[in-house]
């Protein structure tokens, strides 16, 4: 009788624990914050990534499923960027090399999504991102879909055109580009965070600038370990 009671009570406790565990979205990664030097925890099971469908640089579908099963580092770029974006991509190549040097068991794939699908077609991205690393994946597609991802990940961008006098004019969010903007050129002010996505296709952490490759590599190992424990 007594043994049966303990068995039932034990099972109930396990069940409650399991429910709590799943409700809380498994773990509380915030306790990791003290150990992290470059990353900020962004894990939030209450706000999963929206459903999206874009195109990779080979013209194949790139959607939520493409982020599942593997670890990935996601960043937003645009190829007309003279400074920040090529720096970021070069840093991602160095980060991969650093993880390799450390004999890391897992090296995330790198996914570069364009802020500027109008100029950055899959074909353009293919040539561009391969320069930094043959395995990098460039992603382009519908502006609204990209904007949704930008919003979900807390990123931000704004386009800047120049008037006749060369004065910069920042366009509002959905304001169309002037007709001559392609010809005259425009730049994009943008956030430059790198996002670590876990194999469930959700964001686990973000890396704000500046991107110190050594610190990032250490944090990535810590985060992967914490996730897989």
């Amino acid at each position: 009788m007594r043994a049966k009671f303990f068995m039932v009570a034990g099972a109930a406790i396990l069940l409650i624990a399991a429910v709590l565990y799943s409700l809380s979205g498994s773990k509380d990664y915030r306790s990791l914050n003290a150990k992290l030097t470059a990353a900020q925890i962004m894990h939030n099971p209450q706000r999963p990534l929206s459903t999206f469908s874009l195109s990779d640089h080979n013209g194949d579908v790139f959607n939520n499923n493409s982020l599942m099963g593997d670890w990935s580092l996601v960043l937003f770029i645009y190829t007309h960027c003279p400074d920040v974006c090529p720096t970021e991509l070069a840093n991602m190549a160095m980060l991969k090399a650093q993880l390799k040097n450390k004999h890391a068991a897992i090296i995330p794939k790198v996914v570069a999504i364009t802020f500027d699908p109008l100029r950055d077609t899959p074909k353009v991205l293919k040539t561009y991102v391969a320069h930094f690393d043959k395995a990098f994946i460039g992603v382009s597609g519908d502006t609204q879909q990209i904007d949704q991802l930008v919003k979900d990940l807390g990123a931000y961008y704004e386009r800047v055109v120049y008037d006749e006098a060369g004065k910069p004019i920042t366009l509002k969010k959905h304001e169309p580009l002037p007709d001559d903007a392609i010809e005259k050129g425009y730049v994009i002010n943008h956030t430059a965070r790198v996002y670590l996505m876990s194999p469930d296709g959700q964001v686990l952490a973000g890396f704000p600038t500046p991107h110190k490759v050594d610190d990032m590599a250490n944090d990535i190992e810590l985060l992967i370990k914490a996730f897989e424990e």
């Binding site: 190829t79 320069h131 704004e158 050129g185 002010n189 943008h190 430059a192 490759v213």
Partner: protein, 164 residues
Amino acid sequence: MLNNIKKILFILVAFVSITATNAASHAHQNNHVNHQITITDPWIRSAPINAPALGLFMNISNNTNQEVRLISAHTKGYKRIELHRTIDSNGVMKMVKQAFMPIPAHAKLHLKPGSWHIMLIAPEQVPSEGEQVSVSLKFNDGSTQTIQVLVRKGGMMMQHHSMH
């Protein structure tokens, strides 16, 4: 053995005299060129063959008693060349076009990724890694300097690593 020492001595003497000649010709050149503004480690970041814009970086030292301004840069094969500065405003990286780059008296301006840079726009052909590109720089004191710029790799961390 003695022969070897002779050889080494000869090489040493030759080396020292070459270095001395070089230094002398350098000093001679500098008398004609503006030595008040000196450029060191100029480089263009190697970029994808379809890159619409390239970054040019360097150190500019101003050895005079007054501010000097870089007002423009010129090189062949680009649609436009602009002076830019990347500014981090609360995590938003802004590329801001500049009318000039100020180099304060007895100070150095470091053009580097994420900061001041010269933007080479719409290249006819993207130069490849290892190539040397001739660039002339115009300053507000009326002087012009032509420099040879190396095309090389570089992220933010490259310089960090080379300092170790």
